[in-house]
Every structure is written in structure tokens, then in C-alpha cells.
């Protein structure tokens, strides 16, 4: 049979191996001479090695072909197929076989009746339905599909089961070619291909409006007839057939229908829900192929690489893909030169045609995260229309702010919005996507919710005289009011209540958030029963505002219940469980159990970390939460590392203009500041401010809070002019963002007043502090530590204005507040005591003043967190105390201490 020697002893085999390795990469011309020399007179060995070397052909695919051969040709044997030609199924007579596949056989059939003849395609499903319940559900689904009537969708006419229980579907018969073959065969140009593709989009969009997802869009499912009409086949069939399968627990099965590398979507690979966004992705893959003649992913043969490529790699830009010189042609793939010839152009021209808009459009459809793709097939189609008309398109390189901007342009055109409303809309956008994902199980709910939300946004209240600056809260209040009218549709009502409750929470309006979420939970418990997955999700959500309003006990109960439910529903390492851990960590942090909080945060981080890119945001948030906890515990190095990791995650996976960038930069700056790394902290604050301005807008809270912290840092450094600028800006930003009565504003006023006091601008300082005091008393309450801080500073200012008698009652009040919360050694209590000492000195009560001074300077000077500035100020007060007291030696002592800038505790 071949030239193998009869006996291959281990020794001989080792020799074979050695010689083969030696000659494998040798030019053929040298091979013979080498072997002659190496084998000597063993002609048999030489011939054998020569034979092996001839067989060493990299491109030979005999083994692959044999495997594919077995896998591919698994259609039923011809005998059983032809048997039923001529027979009848229902009113149809079978004419011939069109094709077959794993799910069944497709026949051409005729409806023969006296009046007309109609050709149809009948798909006989190769499985039996046993469960009558499933069958009944299929009939319902089938009816929905049968109602789809669109010129580019092959109709589903009918269906049923044969006498032996085999299900079948009767469909419009399409005589045409798969779309990719059609395009290449007709040499369609890029623009012609786009026009054709837009028709597919319109069919898909129509189906989505009817809440049907195709689930299996690919070239072979789109036939183009001789007159150029594309027809989409098998709409929703994948699910219909799958629903009868044993592996299915219902109509909303998640996961993969097919795992052929070419057509898999990230959510299929990861067993996520199949939604309209899955079809958008499949359209993206199709467009990629039609434009470039290549698959979007070259996943090769390695299965582990496949999942990774689909979930993590961004496909090559179409314009780049067609330009590459050597396309490593996979089996069955097109030769590169044919690609441009089939499109009636040259390689460079094709690449230029695709560059820019079309690259962006395709890649937008192919985003990993379903919610970040085009929101509808119509939107995709519209973008192509704009491109064809040489108008600017929506698709841009992947950036976050761009998408936000786009969402707003589309949903509230003409309404000028406050910054808060922007956040609100983004939150609603997410909520709408969530709705979208439950499309199959909550058809009506999804539709009504989105209509409802659109109505709220699209029509500013005509009764509102300020029509143009309608606030987020007004919109919400209006929405909440309208929800109460939806009693007859509890599912819609509950979903809306949850959404609005969540938005209230994001706006910091905890009480109405709790009201909404409680109502939603109540309705859902009644409607769905205690064990429905939505109950756990709602409980998790409700716990958050409860934590913020210090109702820890209830929050704890809800979170535990949700955690247990999620564990049994989704398993210990599910993201649902991770979300519960995350919230529990917040709860424990709030109640001061930092160790447990850190443990839970770490658990949630571990789970999200194992989930890959899709949960990068949650992973970053988990790290940030853990960092927050560690900061409280003063573990600043670890916190810094975590923030840096979180920041890197956001930048890599969500983009440089994602809002979390701004938050993490600020938090990182705060940690660095606490660590005493003032130089880096200052730079980081400036970065945070720039990022927040870019991403969130000039008037966002975050801009203000970074500014005020930067201002204070500069103040501590002694750069008063720059500090004053930052602090005044902070004040302006917070006033714009929150209105003049918000505690943030009071905080800025106090910080600015402290600077002005240092500068000797006492009058303005006094009026700022009095304003801050009023705001605090009305907002955070008269006993808050913020009030004590402001009272302390006001006491200092009044003392310096020679009104120590006015200062004393304020400082006594401040001390009362401080003592209630702080031990004697707390630096803030010490600071207030020293301010009081200063006032007492001015009142001439030197003994009392000295005692307070001696008691408290060591505390302040020994504190790592109090700025040197405070200690220095206390030294100056000491100097003036002893001068007034006429004790120049002591005064000199403190003068000296100030000069050497070193504050030693008293012995």
C-alpha cells in the first residue's frame, strides 16, 4: 500500500523522526543529497523519508475534509425523502424536495384546488412534539409569525402536524439565490448592495415592531428573486422549532441556536438573552460579508479562540479587511482579487468607499454590548440612507458622549435640558433596553412602556410656562401621576414604577424612589408570585434607597431574600448574585461593618471578573466600592491601586469619555491627597475636572466637587490666588447645578470663606459663612457637623473683626455639636476648641484661653489628616494670646515654631 518498512522499531522510528525534522524545511534540491549521505546504504529508509516529505504538504486538508464530510452530509437519506413526493400534507401535494437540514426537510408543494394553483414551501420538522402544552404554545407563536406581512418577508401561511405527529410549516415559496451569491453573481456595486441590504433592514424592523425576533439572519436565509426582491426566510422559526426541543424550558429560551463561528453573537456565546439587538448584530455580520466578501471574524480552528474573538475582539474595519494583500483564505473562502472585481471596482477604490461612514456603521451594528448597537434596524437603514445621500451619519467611532448625544437628539429634539435631565434620559435609555430584552415574554408591556416614556419626553407640558427648562423632577412627577391611571395593566404599571423609582434614586430623591419601588414590588408579588425572578431584582433595587435613608434593617432583609433567590435561580457565580453582594457590601459599609463589606465587595469583584468584557462596568464599580471601603479603613495604598484598576477598565472597555472616568479620577485624587501625595493629587484633580467638564458638562456636580477639593488643596499649599479662583468656580457650578440652597453650595461657601479669612477679607467671609449656615440649618439640620464647621469659622471671623463677644455663643454651640459625635482627641474638636481659645484671648480671659490652647495644639499638630495650615493658624493665635497677655517669651517660642514650620507637641 505504501513504502512503509514492515517493521518500525522504536529505534528506527526515532531515526525517521530525526531525519524528517531535518529535511522538512530543506529545499527539495538539497534534500536528496542530504538523505543519500545520512541514510548511507539504507535505501528503504531513504525512500520512506522521501515519501513522508512529499506528504508534508501544509495545504492538504484531507483530514479536515473527511471530518466535515461526516458532519455535513447528515441529511436524511434520499430514499425516505423521495417517498413522500406525490403525497399530500394537509391540502398540499408534495412536488419535490428543495433542500434539507438538521432541523428538517423542505419540500416544494402545491395547493391544488379547482380555482387556483399556489406553490408553497413546506418545512417538515424532524422531531416529534410530545408535550401538548408545548404544541399549544407553538400554535400561538405560529399565529404571530403568520401575521407578519411584508414584501421582503417570506410569509408563513400555515402549519400543523401530520398524522404521525410530525410538525410542519407551510411557507411562501421563494425561487431565488442566497443574497451573497446574488450580489456577487450580478456584480452589484457597493451602493447597490446597500440598497438591497436596506430592504432587509426594513423587513427586520417590521418584524421587530411586531415583537418578533428572527434569531438566525444569515446569507442562506435571505433569497433574492430574479427581479431583485430580497426575501427573508424563516422568521422566528429558529425559536419556534427550538421551543419543541427537549433542552428548552419555555418560549424564552436563552442561548445559542447555532454555534457556527461565523454567525454567533456575543450574547449567544455567553448564553445571554436573544433580543432584537441580536438581529441587529446579525445584520452587521451580513453587511460585513456583503461589503468585504469576508467574515467579520477569522476565528480559525481553535474553539477557545472563537469565544474569545467574538466576545472581545473588535472586528477589523471593512476598509482595512479588503485592503490586506494576503487574505489567509479559509476553506471555501473567496480569492481576494475576486472580492473587488465582484463589486465592479479596484481594491484601493473599494477600500476608500468603505472607509469612514461604512466602517463606522458596520462596527456600530457589531458592538459587543447589545445595548450599544443601533437601537433598531430602521436606524441602521436610515444611517445607510444618509450615507448614500452623502449626509452626515449617526455612526461615529466608538465614544460614549457621542451615543448620549445621539440618544437625546432623537428623543427630545427641541427641548433644552438641564444636566440632570441628561442623566435621567440615559437612565431611561437603559431601562428601555432592559424592556427590550424581555420582549418575548412581555410583548405588550414592552410596547406600552416605551410608548409611555416617549410620550413623556416628546411633549413638554403645555401648561408649563417655563416649557424650555422643564426639570427632570417635573417630568418624573408627571410620569408617576400618570402611572396611577394604569391600574388595569399591572405589568406595565409595575415596570414603569420600577423604572421611575430607579431614576428617582439616581437623582438622590430617596423617599419617592422608595414609594415607587415598594409599589412595584407589591404589584409584582401579587401578579407574579413571590418566586418570580423580577421580585428578586426589585428587592435588590429597593434596598438601595433604603440604605441611603438608613433603614438598614429592611434593606438587609430584602437583600438577603434577593440573594438567596438569585442563588437558586442563577447559581453562586452568576452576575445576579454579584449584584446582591455589591448591594450588601454597601449596606455593611453604611452600618460600619467594614470587614464584611470588604469581603462582599471582593466576592462581587471575583464574579464579575470572571465574566469578561460584558461586565467591565460592574467590575469597575465593584473595585471602586471596595476602594471606598478601604479608604474608610485608611488602607490608602490598596484603595489607590483599586481605583487605578477601575479607571483602566473603564478606559479600555467603555471609552475615555465614559462618566465613570470622571468619578474615579476624582476619587483617586482624594486618595492621593489623603496619602499626602499633594503633587499627584493636584494633577489628578485637574484631570478629573477636565474629564467631568468634557463628559458631564460644565455645570455638573462632579465638576464642582473636584473644584472645591482642588481649591482647598491649593489653599493648603499657600497658592491663594489659584485657590480662590477654583473655589469661586466651584460655588458657581454647584449653584447652577443644584440651585442656591443646596448643601454643596454651603460647603463651597465655607471653603471659600476660610481662604478669604486667611487673606483678611473678613467682611465677605462673614457674609459667606452666614449664608452657608442658613443653608445647612435648613438642609442637613442644625446639629450636623457641617454646621459646627461653619460656626467655628464664623467664630474665628467675628473674633478677628473684634467681635469676640458675638463669636462666643456660636463657638459654644459648635463645641456642643462636636462633643456629641467626637472624642476629645478628634482634630475637628481640637480645631473648634482652638478657635474658642482665640475668642477667649480677645475677650481677655487669658487663663481659660491658655488652657484650651495647651490642651489642643498637640492634638491638631499630631494629626495626620489636619492640614498644616490649621496648626499654623493656631500657632499664630498662640503668639497673639501671649502678646496680649504680655508674655513675650512664650510669644517668641511660638513665633520660632512657625518659622521653622515645625509643630512639636508640647511636653
Amino acid at each position: 500500500m505504501n513504502s512503509a518498512p514492515p517493521e518500525l522499531s522504536p529505534d528506527r522510528w526515532a531515526r525517521v523522526e530525526q531525519l524528517f525534522d531535518a529535511v522538512a524545511d530543506m529545499p527539495v534540491s538539497e534534500r536528496a543529497a542530504y538523505l543519500r549521505k545520512a541514510c548511507g546504504d539504507d535505501g528503504e529508509l531513504r525512500a520512506y523519508i522521501e515519501a513522508l516529505a512529499r506528504s508534508d504538504v501544509a495545504k492538504n486538508t484531507v483530514i479536515e475534509d473527511a471530518i466535515h464530510d461526516v458532519l455535513d452530509l447528515a441529511s436524511p437519506d434520499a430514499g425516505s425523502l423521495t417517498d413522500i413526493v406525490g403525497e399530500r400534507i394537509g391540502p398540499y401535494r408534495i412536488v419535490s424536495i428543495i433542500g434539507s437540514g438538521g432541523m428538517g426537510v423542505v419540500y416544494l408543494a402545491e395547493r391544488a384546488d379547482e380555482h387556483f394553483r399556489q406553490q408553497v414551501a413546506i418545512k417538515v420538522v424532524r422531531q416529534r412534539l410530545i408535550d401538548p402544552e408545548i404544541e399549544a404554545r407553538l400554535v400561538g407563536e405560529r399565529q404571530i409569525l403568520a401575521n407578519l406581512q411584508h414584501p421582503n418577508i417570506a410569509r408563513l401561511f400555515d402549519g400543523g402536524t401530520t398524522a404521525d405527529g410530525t410538525p410542519y410549516l407551510v411557507m411562501e415559496y421563494i425561487d431565488g439565490l442566497p443574497i451573497d451569491e446574488y450580489c456577487d453573481g450580478r456584480r452589484l456595486t457597493v451602493n447597490e448592495r446597500l440598497e438591497l441590504f436596506r430592504k432587509i433592514c426594513s423587513a427586520v424592523h417590521y418584524a421587530h415592531q411586531n415583537l418578533v425576533v428572527h434569531r438566525d439572519i444569515k446569507p442562506t436565509n435571505i433569497l433574492v428573486t430574479a427581479d431583485g426582491t430580497p426575501k427573508l426566510l424563516d422568521f422566528g422559526i429558529a425559536k419556534l422549532l427550538d421551543a419543541g426541543g427537549a433542552a428548552t424550558d419555555g418560549l424564552t429560551r436563552v442561548g445559542a441556536v447555532m454555534m457556527t463561528p461565523e454567525n454567533a453573537t456575543p450574547e449567544q456565546v455567553q448564553n445571554g438573552p436573544i433580543t432584537t439587538a441580536t438581529d441587529i448584530y446579525a445584520l452587521g455580520l451580513l453587511l460585513y460579508r456583503l461589503l468585504t466578501g469576508q467574515p467579520a471574524y477569522r476565528v480559525g480552528n481553535s474553539p477557545s479562540a472563537m469565544a474569545q474573538a467574538i466576545c472581545e475582539h473588535v472586528p477589523e474595519r471593512p476598509s482595512t479587511a479588503v485592503r490586506r494583500h494576503s487574505v489567509e483564505a479559509a476553506p471555501g473562502e473567496m480569492k481576494p482579487e475576486l472580492i473587488w472585481r465582484y463589486r465592479g471596482t479596484t481594491r484601493e477604490k473599494l477600500s476608500r468607499l468603505l472607509k469612514g461612514d461604512l466602517d463606522n456603521i458596520v462596527l456600530l451594528a457589531l458592538r459587543k454590548e447589545p445595548q450599544r448597537r443601533y437601537r433598531s434596524a430602521h436606524e441602521l437603514s436610515e444611517d445607510l440612507r444618509l450615507h448614500l445621500a452623502s449626509l452626515p451619519v449617526l455612526a461615529q467611532p466608538d465614544t460614549w458622549s457621542y451615543r448620549t448625544g445621539k440618544f437625546i437628539r432623537r428623543h427630545v429634539a427641541g427641548v433644552a435640558m438641564s444636566v440632570a435631565l441628561v442623566g435621567l434620559l440615559v437612565a431611561f435609555g437603559v431601562a428601555m433596553t432592559v424592556q427590550n430584552q424581555r420582549i418575548a415574554e412581555e410583548r405588550d408591556t414592552a410596547r406600552q412602556v416605551s410608548t409611555f416614556l416617549e410620550e413623556i419626553f416628546m411633549t413638554p407640558d403645555p401648561g408649563n410656562a417655563r416649557g424650555l427648562d422643564i426639570s427632570a423632577k417635573e417630568i418624573l412627577a408627571k410620569g408617576a401621576e400618570r402611572i396611577s391611571g394604569l391600574d388595569s395593566q399591572p405589568a406595565v404599571q409595575a415596570t414603569l414604577m420600577e423604572t421611575i423609582g430607579r431614576v428617582y434614586f439616581n437623582l438622590g430623591e430617596y423617599e419617592p424612589s422608595i414609594d415607587m419601588l415598594e409599589a412595584s414590588l407589591r404589584i409584582r408579588s401579587n401578579e407574579l408570585g413571590e418566586h418570580h425572578p423580577l421580585i428578586a431584582a426589585t428587592k435588590n433595587q429597593l434596598a438601595l434607597p433604603l440604605i441611603r435613608t438608613a433603614d438598614y434593617k429592611r434593606a438587609g432583609i430584602l437583600l438577603q431574600e434577593a440573594l438567596e433567590r438569585n442563588r437558586s435561580l442563577y447559581g453562586d457565580s452568576s452576575t445576579e448574585v454579584a449584584a446582591s453582594f455589591y448591594n450588601l457590601a454597601e449596606l455593611h459599609q453604611a452600618t460600619g461593618n467594614l470587614e464584611e463589606a470588604a469581603r462582599l465587595a471582593r466576592e462581587s469583584i471575583d464574579i464579575y471578573a470572571a465574566q469578561g468584557e460584558l461586565h467591565a462596568a460592574e467590575l469597575a464599580e465593584g473595585k471602586s466600592a471596595l476602594a471606598r471601603i478601604l479608604v474608610v479603613n485608611n488602607e490608602l495604598d490598596q484603595a489607590e491601586t483599586l481605583y487605578r484598576e477601575a479607571l483602566a477598565l473603564v478606559r479600555t472597555h467603555l471609552g475615555h469619555d465614559h462618566p465613570l472616568n470622571a468619578y474615579y479620577l476624582q476619587n483617586l485624587a482624594v486618595v492621593l491627597n489623603s496619602k499626602g501625595d499633594i503633587v499627584t493629587a493636584e494633577a489628578m484633580f485637574r484631570d478629573a475636572i477636565a474629564a467631568a467638564r468634557n463628559i458631564l458638562g460644565d455645570d455638573h456636580d462632579l465638576v464642582g466637587s473636584s473644584l472645591v477639593m482642588l481649591g482647598t488643596l491649593l489653599h493648603n499649599k499657600g497658592e491663594h490666588a489659584a485657590a480662590e479662583r477654583a473655589l469661586r468656580e466651584a460655588l458657581a457650578v454647584h449653584t447652577n447645578a443644584r440651585g442656591p440652597d443646596h448643601p454643596f453650595v454651603a460647603y463651597d461657601m465655607t471653603s471659600l470663606a476660610m481662604l478669604l479669612q486667611d487673606e483678611g477679607l473678613l467682611e465677605e467671609a462673614e457674609s459667606l459663612l452666614k449664608g452657608a449656615l442658613r443653608i445647612y440649618e435648613a438642609s442637613v439640620g442644625p446639629d450636623h457637623q457641617y454646621v459646627a464647621s461653619t460656626l467655628t469659622e464664623l467664630g474665628v471671623v467675628l473674633t478677628d473683626r473684634n467681635l469676640p463677644q458675638d463669636a462666643e455663643p456660636l463657638l459654644l454651640r459648635a463645641l456642643e455639636i462636636r462633643r456629641r459625635d467626637f472624642p476629645d482627641t478628634h482634630p475637628l474638636l481640637a480645631a473648634t476648641n482652638l478657635a474658642y481659645s482665640h475668642a477667649l484671648a480677645r475677650l481677655g480671659r487669658y487663663d481659660e484661653a491658655e488652657r484650651l490652647l495647651l490642651d489642643n495644639v498637640p492634638t491638631l499638630a499630631g494629626s495626620a489628616t489636619a492640614p498644616d495650615r490649621r496648626a499654623r493658624r493656631a500657632m499664630q493665635w498662640a503668639v497673639s494670646l501671649y502678646e496680649d497677655w504680655e508674655k513675650p517669651e512664650e510669644a517668641d517660642l511660638y513665633r520660632h515654631r512657625i518659622q521653622v514650620q515645625k509643630v512639636e507637641p508640647f511636653d
Binding site: 513522508l52 516529505a53 483530514i63 475534509d65 454567525n263 481553535s302 477557545s304 469565544a307
Partner: protein, 187 residues
């Protein structure tokens, strides 16, 4: 999910040196692959070939999930590759039997009926027999063929599973492939 945990645990135990874990693991993998193969075979249209490696990968995701250490993943694929070989060879044998003994009439959910293959250049059963002979001469080279072609494993993955260097895997595969092609060539 319970299943995923079992598989990840078994993989871990196997890695720790518990050969019994492999005994438990192999049938799980085999059954999952067989079920998948039954469901998918031939369901793709022309030009979009179903790949053995796609099946192996899906079996992996279904059984083990994504959060499995890389080295365990390589070992899983090795088990799956061997199962895949068995499944495909069984199918090919069934096909040969039908060719001789007349076709089974009805395709049901339980049996996948393999039709006559278009006469290809090589038969999987011939390859399988050659592979058997190779394994007798050099077990590791036979293994490399199975892992690569039936499991779609990369050099790095095979190196991990076989505990040799990727360069060795490369040389093994090259010779093993040439050897098999040489065996298949008519005298």
C-alpha cells in the same frame, strides 16, 4: 449550572492528579457532544460548514462555562477531542453499514441518519485506522492529530494538555500528518 459546577470541579480534581475525575468527566463530555451533534448535524446550509471545533466549543461553554482556568480548558478540550473522534467515527460506521444493509426509513429524534457521502478523496474510517496504527508506533503523535483536528486545539493548548513544548507539538503534528497522508496514498 449544577452540571457546570460538576465539570469545573472534576477538571480541577483531574489537574490535581485525581485520575478518577477523568473517568467521571469523559462520559459527561461525550454525552453532551453527542447530543449537540445530533441536534446540529447538517442543519447549516451549503457554504457554512458546521465545524467539529464549533461543537466542542459549545459543549465546553455548556458544561463548564467561561470562568475556567486556561490549563483546565486545554484539558477539557483534550477530552472533548477524543469524544468527538469517537462520535464521528461511529457516525461514519453507521453510514457504511447503511450503505451495505439498506437505508433506515425514518429519521427520528433519537437517531441521526447519515446519508451516502459523495465519494470523497478520503474516508474518515480510513483515517481513523491509520491513526490507530500511528498511535501504536508513537502514541503522542496520534494524540496530537486527535487534539488538533477533532478538538481544534492550538499548539499552546496541546502543549498544555500533553505537557510538552509548543515546538514539540509543532514537530509532532507535522510528522504525524505527513505519516497519515502517506498511509492514505494508494500504493
Amino acid at each position: 449550572m449544577a452540571c457546570a459546577r460538576a465539570v469545573t470541579t472534576l477538571l480541577g480534581q483531574w489537574r490535581e492528579g485525581d485520575e478518577g475525575a477523568l473517568v467521571e468527566l469523559a462520559p459527561l463530555v461525550y454525552e453532551e457532544l453527542r447530543a449537540l451533534a445530533r441536534r446540529y448535524m447538517g442543519s447549516e446550509g451549503a457554504g457554512h460548514t458546521l465545524q467539529a471545533t464549533g461543537l466542542v466549543n459549545e459543549a465546553f461553554i455548556r458544561l463548564a462555562g467561561m470562568d475556567v482556568p486556561w490549563s483546565d480548558r486545554a484539558h477539557f478540550y483534550a477530552v472533548a477531542a477524543r469524544s468527538m473522534r469517537r462520535i464521528l467515527v461511529d457516525h461514519a460506521k453507521a453510514r457504511r453499514r447503511e450503505k451495505r444493509g439498506g437505508a433506515a426509513r425514518h429519521a427520528s429524534l433519537e437517531t441521526v441518519v447519515i446519508p451516502d457521502a459523495a465519494a470523497g478523496p478520503a474516508d474518515l474510517l480510513d483515517i481513523d485506522e491509520a491513526l490507530e496504527r500511528l498511535a501504536r508506533i508513537d502514541a503522542r503523535k496520534g494524540e496530537v492529530i486527535v487534539l488538533h483536528y477533532f478538538g481544534g486545539m492550538t499548539y499552546d493548548e496541546m502543549a498544555e494538555a500533553l505537557d510538552v513544548s509548543p515546538a514539540t507539538v509543532h514537530r509532532d503534528l507535522r510528522l504525524a500528518k505527513a505519516w497519515i497522508l502517506n498511509e492514505l496514498r494508494p500504493a
